[in-house]
Symmetry: C2
Subunit: 237 residues, 2 copies
């Protein structure tokens, strides 16, 4: 039996490798889900489900690697923060995978409905968060607090786009009741994308914590206003 005692650095490198892989997969899944949605292609959406299983397994591997590192290496200070951040980041990336899967699950209803103009805005939102998903694991791997901070700021644009899309979809529903079911699913899809943006900012905050030992002092400005949005009188029109 070959008995390998890895060095601590090797163990950390293995953890980094897993996070990089998980980040890449989460980004792919999100991009594929948006693409299937915009093309209204239920077959492509079906493929997302299989990919999500791989993400779940990778998160499980990160968990095991973290437990092993903690049990055998007793990291302290920045190393300990890095290991704990990896655990949380893997959980956030797994949740991004879940949102991609949920978008894919809603795609057959959209594919069967007449095309809605809102898909163009969803495509833009999707492209924005896809880039954010690519950049945050990079910030983690490079211990780059500034890159992480930049991702946090970009989430404001995602929130603003979400708020205007929310209004747009309510108007479609008012104007034509055949739009109600597909628009409802698009509202949830838009919310999913907005949540993915939030998760990338969570990851960015973990990177900040890892690099500096504290979470960002200022709460992130939160510009998603959909929870308080109505149409101010349009309802009675």
């Amino acid at each position: 039996v070959e008995h390998i005692v890895k060095s601590f650095d090797n163990e950390l490198a293995a953890l980094d490798q897993l996070i990089a892989e998980l980040g890449g997969l989460a980004e792919n899944q999100m991009a594929a889900a948006i693409n299937a949605l915009v093309k209204r292609n239920a077959d492509k959406a079906e493929l997302i489900r299989a990919g999500d299983k791989v993400i779940d397994q990778l998160e499980e591997q990160v968990n095991e690697q973290v437990i092993r590192l903690l049990a055998l290496r007793h990291p302290v200070a920045e190393d300990l923060r890095l290991v704990v951040a990896a655990l949380k980041i893997s959980n956030d990336l797994e949740r991004i995978g879940d949102y991609a899967k949920n978008i894919a699950k809603r795609t057959p209803v959209i594919a069967q409905s007449p095309p809605l103009g809102a898909l163009t805005s969803l495509k833009r939102m999707g492209a924005m968060v896809s880039e954010m998903i690519t950049d945050v694991p990079d910030a983690y791997l490079e211990h780059d607090g500034e890159k992480a901070f930049d991702v946090r700021l970009r989430d404001e644009e995602v929130d603003a786009l979400h708020t205007s899309l929310f209004r747009e979809l309510l108007i479609y529903m008012m104007e034509d009741h055949r739009c109600i079911t597909p628009s409802t699913h698009l509202l949830f899809i838009a919310k999913n994308i907005e949540r993915v943006g939030d998760l990338t900012t969570n990851i960015a905050e973990q990177v900040h914590y890892m690099v500096s030992g504290s979470l960002p002092a200022e709460a992130r400005p939160k510009l998603d206003e959909t929870a308080t949005t109505g149409l101010n009188g349009l309802e009675g029109a």
Copy 2:
């Protein structure tokens, strides 16, 4: 300067105490949010926001306690699993707090709209998940895998109620376009409650992992069908 070296057991007891407190607060916040919603009371909903800050601070304390335990005590085996589970459970409880806050944020729109029958079903869903939130931290504190398993099963009822409520709300929207905005917010509130149910099952799975060293073998049956739900022809009516 008084220098206190706490025993490992004391440190664990302090962690348990924080989780118990966090669980109690999450349950209170959720119950208060549902109550304010059902009474259509925007003032009471406003109070939820302040409570959420306390939850966030408690989660931060759990994080610090976990980091301290890992750095100073180097737990292994079941103790290590317990500490990692506490970290994840505190994150899930904090997210439950976020959902309560989101329900509260949507309540003013509901308070300004005519009352909808769907509030009764939301109240039932809310009562079900409130009980689940009470029971899972207990299962953690008592290391009770069976109690945790029971919570997991109860989530099926929450999912079933959510699916029927989703259909009910779509019908309201079809029948009367003045219902579209409030019903949209109620759809998101129902989804929030359903997600809180999912989070309690996450916690239940962490308890299983903590007690046994592995996650439950069988995937939890997932009965929430809203992502694939339309109204089968009713749209054209």
